[in-house]
Amino acid sequence: MKTKKAEKTVPEHPMEELIRSERLPHIWCAGCGIGTVFGSVMAAIQKSGYDLDKTAIVSGIGCTARMAGYIRLDSFHTTHGRALPFATGLKLANPELKVLVVSGDGDLLAIGGNHFIHTARRNIDITVICVNNLNYGMTGGQLAPSTPFGAKTTTSASGCPEEPFNFCYLASACGAIYVARWTSLHIRRLTNSITEAMQKRGFGFVEILTPCPTSFGRRNKIGTALETLKFYHERSVIRNDIDPKEAPIDFGSNIVVGKFVDTERPTFLDNYQLSCKNQIGDWPDFEGTMVQENQTGRQDIL
């Protein structure tokens, strides 16, 4: 995005409407991809046209989760891994709200993995943006469920012994209605994807591969952020509409990106409202003991 023509008075941040500029400078490292994603998130929010007073952002704990503290919206920086159930409560309590969750890979899919599965399964109407930097950045670079096999982190100095998750495949299997993956180099496509996901009703998931030069890059000889982005540029292959099962992140060959899922199904609230209309009928052993003594002497079983 370009800055506005310079004002004669004190220059305003070009995204002042959405940035809590009084909180700058931010905590992110030089070269970190989160800033780029943050820009895309804000651009998508503006583009999607929702009432900003009715748009809320929820996060857990981690580098990405700090986005919530810099955006000038109702914003909730909650506990590690619990952004999704918090967002579920928020959205269901006030369905008028447009709710976004921003989360790192460890926050969303390690400690928060179970919530991810069930929030997607329920098809809660929220948009989830996952910044995948392949490790835990905030705590100094430990292995995460996204860390590639063999990669070096401070808790896998001799190489990560675990196979990583394919988050997009997981999201799709759990019933997400929108699933896409980009890198922080694909700014235009990323912004479009976030906008699309926001404009859909249901659980949308957008994963973004980003450089973490301070922790991951340094220990894995990937080099600077710029070199990481070049690497992403060379290796990224866009394959829209393929089964995300066929799109693991494989640094040995290609990094498959694209929009993998774009579908419709009823949200939790849609189904809840329908089920509320159903008659319960007889329920012999449930509330038989709740007997009301009526003034007329009648006893009503409630």
């Binding site: 809590r20 909180r23 900003l52 007073d53 009715k54 809320a56 929820v58 919530a68 503290g69 000038r72 919206l73 109702d74 914003s75 909730f76 920086h77 909650t78 506990t79 619990r82 999704l84 159930p85 918090f86 967002a87 579920t88 409560g89 928020l90 959205k91 269901l92 309590a93 006030n94 008028e96 709200l97 179970n114 919530h115 599965i117 069930h118 939790f268 809840y272 089920s275 509320c276 319960i280 449930f286 509330e287 003991t289 709740m290 007997v291 009301q292 003594e293 009526n294 409630l302």
Partner: protein, 386 residues
């Protein structure tokens, strides 16, 4: 047309159901929970009652999620509640801390069973009393209430919602298996007879609003998400703007206010029922189901010519320190029955400050304490001073 939220009338109802009815009468319209004995009946009843009131019931994947969801719902502007028992209460602790730090009104009903761990799932215990006080990390104050009958499950659930809104804090109802499962007469009054405390809304222009700038009583007005105030809420140590402040001064200011908004309003929060206290030589201090046994023991002692009295705690946290100090100075002994190895008795001893002996009537859990056990300790206490 019948009032579906407030089921005015007289019922034969169990404590878990009475808790639900209290919650709905208080305006609760969001419940997130996970089944666990002996609190399951609350979850079940809420799943049937909330849809007919236009509220939301959601069964979450675990108690961590349940607690997170009610915090989110509360910020969404809806009175929210969950219920659980020991193992689930343990899982909720981190998010209870988030609720305390972010000052989020909500209610947690813990129908206690005997622990530790899986313990006795179907049998009574009162072993979570200190967990209620200190279970989440860091230093803070809490409000916890202890009902001793289905009627109190109804009444105190309403009070729990009122206190949570008044002081912007998660309020814990420390019930127990016997109170939850026993069926007794429950009177539900008419709607207009029920006192309801609503959320204190900001009165300043949006631009000037500071989410954590307190009124003189230490409690800050609360803007809901979607009200247009564009609030930032974090579990990090934060200033009055709600912005993180990683320094000693911000920490001291925030923690001190979290403590003072409860400690400074202690007299308005604490409620006890004092029975035969004026001339008592020995006083039993009891809460929850054990207060029922204590009442009988005190009556029996009185019929046997012993001047026994009872302090029944409605609020267990904050603890009625001033009252206990006064009473300790003029009685021969204080006695506390509880279904654990001695938890609230530690607080009782602290407040008595050595002014009189403090005796524990302990039961490890699985059944209630028989009145005769308390009575014999009352008799011993009287003799001990002779």
């Amino acid at each position: 047309m019948a009032d579906k939220a407030v089921l005015t009338g007289t019922y034969f109802m169990n404590g878990d159901y009475a808790c639900c009815e209290g919650a709905l009468a208080a305006g609760c319209r969001f419940f997130a929970g996970y089944p666990i004995t002996p609190a399951t009946e609350i979850t079940e009843r809420m799943s049937r009652r909330l849809p007919e009131l236009g509220g939301i019931f959601i069964q979450m994947e675990d108690e961590i999620a349940s607690m997170a969801a009610i915090l989110g719902a509360s910020w969404g502007g809806v009175k929210a509640m969950t219920s659980t028992s020991g193992p689930g209460f343990s899982l909720m602790m981190e998010n209870i801390g988030l609720g305390i730090c972010t000052e989020t009104p909500c209610v947690i009903c813990n129908v206690q069973r005997a622990g530790p761990s899986t313990g006795l799932p179907t049998l009574v215990g009162q072993g979570d009393m200190m967990q209620a006080r200190w279970g989440s990390h860091g230093h803070y104050e809490v409000i916890a209430l202890a009902p001793s009958s289905p009627q109190e499950m109804f009444d105190l659930t309403i009070r729990a919602f009122n206190l949570s809104e008044q002081y912007r804090i998660p309020v814990m109802i420390m019930a127990d298996e016997v109170v939850g499962h026993m069926n007794e007469r429950v009177v539900i009054p008419r709607r207009e007879e029920i006192e309801i405390v609503g959320r204190r809304k900001p009165k300043v222009p949006k631009r000037d609003y500071l989410p954590y700038h307190p009124d003189p009583d230490g409690v800050a007005p609360m803007a809901n998400c979607g009200d247009g105030y564009r609030i930032h809420i974090t579990g990090l140590t934060h200033d009055e703007r709600g912005y993180p402040g990683m320094d000693e001064a911000t920490q001291a200011q925030m923690v001190n206010r979290l403590i003072q908004k409860i400690a400074g309003n202690r007299d308005k929060i604490i409620r006890t029922e004092n029975v035969y206290l004026d001339d008592a030589d020995v006083v039993v201090v009891a809460y929850g189901i054990s207060a029922r046994s204590a009442r009988q023991a005190v009556r029996d002692a009185r019929s046997g010519g012993i001047r026994a009295g009872l302090i029944k705690l409605e609020t267990v946290w904050p603890f009625p320190e001033t009252l206990i100090r006064d009473v300790a100075a003029r009685v021969r002994a204080l006695i506390m029955p509880e279904i654990n190895a001695g938890q609230m008795v530690l607080e009782l001893q602290r407040c008595a400050g050595g002014a009189c002996p403090v005796h524990l009537v302990s039961h490890f859990g699985g059944s209630i304490i028989h009145p005769s056990t308390i009575l014999s300790v009352i008799k011993d206490a009287i003799k001990g001073r002779k």
